[in-house]
Each structure stands twice: as structure tokens, then as C-alpha cells.
């Protein structure tokens, strides 16, 4: 027995040595902040964004042959954030990730994976100048610094299928979707007339980010509040519960299915409406004759007062970058007026630039359908930039699926419990 113990201890010690004795080094030195050189950049896997990205990279490379940029598509998983986090931990994150989700920024920042913009002399001023101080403010971290550059926004609106609406006897030009009552009634008509399997089909599954496309837009439209304000959860209020009740009605009357659709239900004509941003237009344009209206509110606020979820993506410079000045210059290049204009043209997504309709008047004249999104882009609610944000969203989502999607628990109780848990997490920091 003693012999066994000795050999076990020896094995353990040996393996710890084997594993741990390889030093993993620190990060790049302080001089990285002013260093220039070749850098690596990650793009999302959205085909239109990839096209835009490759154009921008090629243009940069022709102008800066000594600071070449190599672009790579983020290997996507259920969430690309896991991949980025893994690369932060491994120390092999790229210099810039174009498609950093704002909900992941607190976690990446805590892991020491992001470079604060005030490392660069014009860091803060550039961001606030481009995006406008008011909007940019939602993207500051609790310590008051910018760890991300707000890049593009996809204000979420209600898309509807004009042909299916006409088939159901609804007005395809001005559909009755302004108030909750109208929305519900329209949905009932659509389903009863059997023009589609569902009136609208948000994903009812339990991933933490799904709430951004059912609860959050309506909550934002109603209250203009983030999920967390001043360190406290905001959803266990009568407003939050009301939004929950609205969706519960949709699920109870089978206007929205309880099972996730594999693919795009709106594009396939299985759902008559979708709650999504303008990036989807390139997906729908050949298949569906679509129209878009703002998110419904209970009492029917006028369109120019309705807020929505931003579905924003940021750019960020990552800690492992050894040539941060190049990275910063590249970021400024990629968000310059021309590049933003190309982004708009190629992807239909709204760059976060002040006064979009004015700056790109030519584009919006040619594509009037996009004007409403540009307009909506000024009224967005972002995810809260707080510690443990992923866990808070997951806690909320678990409550949502239990109470709203499947009616296994009363909504107010579930929301209250989730809010209590969220407040604990917020206090923990």
C-alpha cells in the first residue's frame, strides 16, 4: 500500500512538472502600443461581410505594404465567442476581431484580453466623433473606458411577407402591426387562414442570446431600458412581465411554435413575419417580397419614438497584438467614411456613424427600403456592459423558456427569481 502511494505521488509530481514547467510567458511588452508591423484580423462568416472585409484588407495592403493584414474567418461554433475566448486564453488571439459581440466584452475584458482605446492618443475622440457621444456611451465599460469600437448595428424590426399578408386578406402596404392588440389579431388571422405554419417564429430554445430576438426588442420599445440599469435587473417589473405575457399569448395560441426551426423560417415561407435586422435583406431579397415596420408597442407609439434592440457588433483590438498602432490605424481605415459606405452597400447593415441618411444620401436615394433602418439606428438599446453578463442572460433565458415558452411556471415568479439571481451576480462583480 505504501509502495502504491509512493508511485501515485511520483506520477502526480511528474505530470505537474511535465505540464507546468513549460513557461507560458507573459503578454506583449508595453512597446506594442506604438509598434507597427504585420497583423492578423478575423472576420465573421457572413458572406457579405467577408466580401466587404476582403475588399478593405486588399485596399489597405496595397497602401501599406510593410504592414500587411491577413484576414481569416472566425471559425464559427454555436457561438463564436467561445472560440475568441479560447484564443485569448491561449495567447494567440488576432490583433483585431471584426465581429466582437458587446455581450462578450465584459468577459474578454476581465480576462485581460482587450486593449483599452485610451492607449492611443485619439482613441476616445475618434469613437465619439464617429458615432456620437450619446450612442457611444452605451459601449463604455464600467470603468469608463472603451474596450470596443462600436462598428455596425442591425436595428431589429418586424419583417413581414407581403404576399402571405395579401393572401390572408391583410393590407400589405400598411399592415396592422402597431399595437400589441393589432399584432395579436393579425397573427391570429395569418394562422387561421393557414397562409403559414406560424405568424412569427423566434427561436424558443434556451441559448442565452435568443432573448435578444423576442423579449429584448419589445422590452426596449416599451421602456428604452437595458436589461440591467444602475447595477440592478430591470425585467422583474410590470413592464417586463407584460412583455412576457404578450409572448405567452403568442405561444399559447400557437401563433409562434415552441420548437426551433432548422433554417430561416421566414425565407422558407413557414412564418409570415420575422423579427430581425437589415442584414437579412440579402437573404430574403430574391425569395420574399418583404416589408418592415417598427416593433409593436402596447399602446401604439409613433414610429419615431419606438426603440429596439441594436444587434450590434463591435471591433476590438486584442491584448496579444504585438503591433497595436497598425491595428488601430487599420481600425480607423476600416471605419472611415468610404469603408463605412462600402459596408452599407455590400451588406445593408448600418455603420454606427452619426447622421447616416445625410452622409450617404446617394445610397438611400437608390435604396429607399433601407432608409427606415437608418432612421431606426438612432434609437437602439444595447445589451448591458456588466460583469457576468453571459450568466445573467442565461439565467433570464432559463426563466423565459420555463414561464413564457412552456408555461410551466408563473411569469412573475420566474422573473422575480431570475432578477434576484442576476442582482447577486451583479453585486459579485
Amino acid at each position: 500500500m505504501r509502495r502504491r502511494l509512493i508511485s501515485v505521488v511520483a506520477a502526480a509530481a511528474g505530470s505537474v512538472l511535465l505540464g507546468g514547467c513549460i513557461s507560458d510567458g507573459g503578454g506583449p511588452p508595453e512597446s506594442a502600443n506604438t509598434s507597427r508591423g504585420a497583423i492578423e484580423v478575423w472576420l465573421s462568416t457572413n458572406p457579405e461581410e467577408v466580401a466587404w472585409g476582403e475588399e478593405v484588407v486588399a485596399s489597405w495592403n496595397s497602401k501599406h505594404p510593410s504592414e500587411k493584414v491577413t484576414a481569416q474567418q472566425i471559425p464559427a461554433g454555436k457561438t463564436s465567442e467561445e472560440v475568441i475566448y479560447a484564443s485569448i486564453v491561449a495567447g494567440n488571439a488576432p490583433c483585431v476581431v471584426m465581429n466582437t459581440a458587446p455581450s462578450a466584452v465584459p468577459q474578454f475584458q476581465k480576462a485581460g484580453g482587450l486593449v483599452p482605446l485610451d492607449n492611443f492618443p485619439d482613441g476616445n475622440s475618434y469613437v465619439e466623433g464617429r458615432t456620437g457621444t450619446a450612442v457611444a456611451d452605451q459601449y463604455k465599460s464600467p470603468d469608463g473606458r472603451f474596450y470596443q469600437i462600436p462598428w455596425k448595428v442591425n436595428p431589429v424590426m418586424i419583417f413581414y411577407n407581403k404576399k402571405l399578408f395579401a393572401q390572408a386578406g391583410l393590407d400589405p402596404v400598411n399592415p396592422p402591426l402597431k399595437t400589441w392588440a393589432e399584432f395579436l389579431q393579425t397573427s391570429r388571422t395569418l394562422v387561421q387562414k393557414k397562409v403559414a405554419h406560424a405568424a412569427i417564429w423566434p427561436a424558443p430554445s434556451s441559448e442565452f442570446f435568443q432573448s435578444w430576438f423576442d423579449f429584448y426588442p419589445l422590452f426596449g420599445a416599451r421602456t428604452q431600458q437595458q436589461l440591467v440599469e444602475d447595477g440592478k435587473a430591470t425585467f422583474d417589473t410590470p413592464d417586463g412581465v407584460a412583455v412576457g405575457q404578450f409572448w405567452r399569448t403568442m405561444y399559447a395560441e400557437k401563433l409562434a411554435p415552441q420548437e426551433k426551426y432548422n433554417g430561416d423560417s421566414f425565407k422558407d415561407g413557414e412564418a409570415a413575419m420575422a423579427i430581425v435586422g437589415p442584414w437579412a435583406i440579402s437573404v430574403y431579397k430574391d425569395a420574399i417580397e418583404w416589408g418592415a415596420v417598427p416593433i409593436p408597442t402596447e399602446d401604439g407609439k409613433p414610429a419615431n419614438q419606438v426603440y429596439t434592440f441594436s444587434d450590434e457588433k463591435s471591433l476590438a483590438i486584442y491584448f496579444a497584438c504585438e503591433h497595436r498602432l497598425t491595428a488601430w490605424d487599420f481600425v480607423k481605415f476600416a471605419t472611415a467614411q468610404d469603408s463605412d459606405g462600402r459596408l452599407l452597400e455590400l451588406t445593408g447593415q448600418m455603420p454606427m456613424r452619426e447622421n447616416l441618411p445625410g452622409v450617404y444620401a446617394g445610397y438611400f436615394a437608390k435604396n429607399p427600403a433601407y432608409t427606415q433602418f437608418a432612421d431606426q439606428a438612432g434609437r437602439i438599446v444595447e445589451v448591458p456592459n456588466v460583469p457576468n453578463s453571459t450568466e445573467i442572460w442565461q439565467t433570464f433565458r432559463n426563466a423565459w423558456t420555463a414561464a413564457v415558452v412552456f408555461d410551466n411556471e408563473p411569469i412573475d415568479k420566474e422573473f422575480a427569481d431570475a432578477a434576484a439571481r442576476a442582482n447577486e451576480l451583479l453585486a459579485k462583480g
Partner: protein, 298 residues
Amino acid sequence: MSKPTTIPPKAKPTEQQKLTVEPAPRNRLRVLILSIGAIMFIFPFYYMVIGSLQKEADKSFSGVFPHPDNMTVTNYQEINEAIDAPRSLLNSTVFTIGVLLCTVLFGILAGYALAVMHFRGRTTVLSAVLLVLVVPFQLLQIPLYVLIVRAYGLGDTYLGMIIPFAINSTAVFIFRQFFLQSPRELFEAAHIDGASELKTMLRVAIPLARPAILNAVLLTFIGPWNEFLWPFLVTKQQDMQPFAVALANYMNNVAGRATNPDGANMAGGVLLAIPPVVLFLIFQKRFTSTNIGSGVKG
């Protein structure tokens, strides 16, 4: 009742000779039950193939049978356009062969040593082998990731993919059981002839172990070929990703845009399933149970 067959000297009775031939009615009942079961087992595969060839997803009962006017190879074409199939298949092959080589090479050494030799620490290692089977990979995953990618710097390399799977512990188990059951006289005869342990192993044990090697190869192959999570974590560059990862990426992200997303997903599934199934069918006659089932003892 089987007739006693003459067993030629020095050969174990083949499986055919060991099987009983039952009287006809019982045999027919057996065949009937097996057929019903086999059809139920195979049905999802059949349905997957049919679904992958559908132009529009047809979930009705008649969709079970192929309809000529709803058939197309578009789903496969879309996959071909979206992922670099030859490259990812190459990556899968390198990954799998790397694991197989390490497993056979070092696994036989380990299995032989654990079965036949006596040395200090043997029971500890034995316990470790069994413990490995109990621990889920997800528990080891993150520290392993930090070790391999950060400490050893093996991200985006074949080595980084292979190392956590290099020696399959079930294969070690199989080799050990095989050698435990082999007649000791063979090894002792070699000793008496003056062979060292190493020579004994090389000249006697390994040739003897061919059936066990085949079984180990077939069982071990499944792991790296189908493995998705680890290569996904370890490789960032798309041209290093094995086939399982490329397909999973496609199914999660791009398939939603295909004309028939369900069909596209199923086409991906068919492509991933073909190599192991084909390999298995080719070798399954040799996949004799006599050697696997030595897991019965100990």
C-alpha cells in the same frame, strides 16, 4: 445440434465452426426478428440518404420513398461549394492515421508489458487505465487546451490535434486482454531460446496479435474520425480543420441559407457517415468477437 468438426492442429476453431445451426423453423423466426430489428436500426440511415436527395424537405409519410421529381444532388453541390472537402478530408485522414499509429505502436508495448511483464508500478498503471475510462473528456478539456496550445504552442497543428487522443486506452485494454489470454508457453519458449524481452515482443507477440491489432484499429478509428469538439477548439485556421469540424460548421452556420436546409444538413451527415460505415462493412467479418470480448475477464 452441430456436428463435431475436426479442428486442425494449432488453429483456433473459426467462428463459423463455433456457430450452431438451428433447425429450420427456429431459424426462420430468428431471421424474421432480426430483420425487423435491422430495418428499424437502418431506417434512420435510409431516411437520411433520402432526405439528402430531396429538393424540398418532405416530412410526410410518402416522403419516405424517393420521388423522382423531388430528387436532386443540389444539397451535395452546396456543401461542396461551401467547404473545402478534399482539404478537410486530408486533415481528417492525417489526424486519424496519426492516432492509429501511436495507438498501435505504444498501445501494444503497453498492453504487452501490462499483461506479461512484472515491474514496479504495474498495478498503478492498470488502475489509471481503468480510471481513464471513467473521466469525461470535457473535464480535462480546458486545462488540456491551455497546456497544448499555450504551453506547448501546438495550436493549428496536426500534433496538437493528435496528442490528446494519441493512445486510445480502450485499445490498451484490448491488447492487454489479448496477451493475457495468449498461451504463455509461446513467450516462454522464446525466452528459453535466449531471446530478450524486446525480441520476444517483436518476433512473437506482435505477429500473434494481428487480430487484436485489427480490432483495436477499427475501434480506435471511430474516435478521431468523428471527433468534433477538440479539433474545433485547437484549430483556428479553416484549412487545418478536419472533415467533421468543417461539416459541423457548415451545418450550424451556412446550411440555414441553403434552399433545403434540412436536406443540406442530412447530406452533410451522409458524407460524414460514409467512410466509417464502409470501412466497417469491409472489415467486419474479421472483426471477430473472440478478441474484443476478452474484455469479459478482469
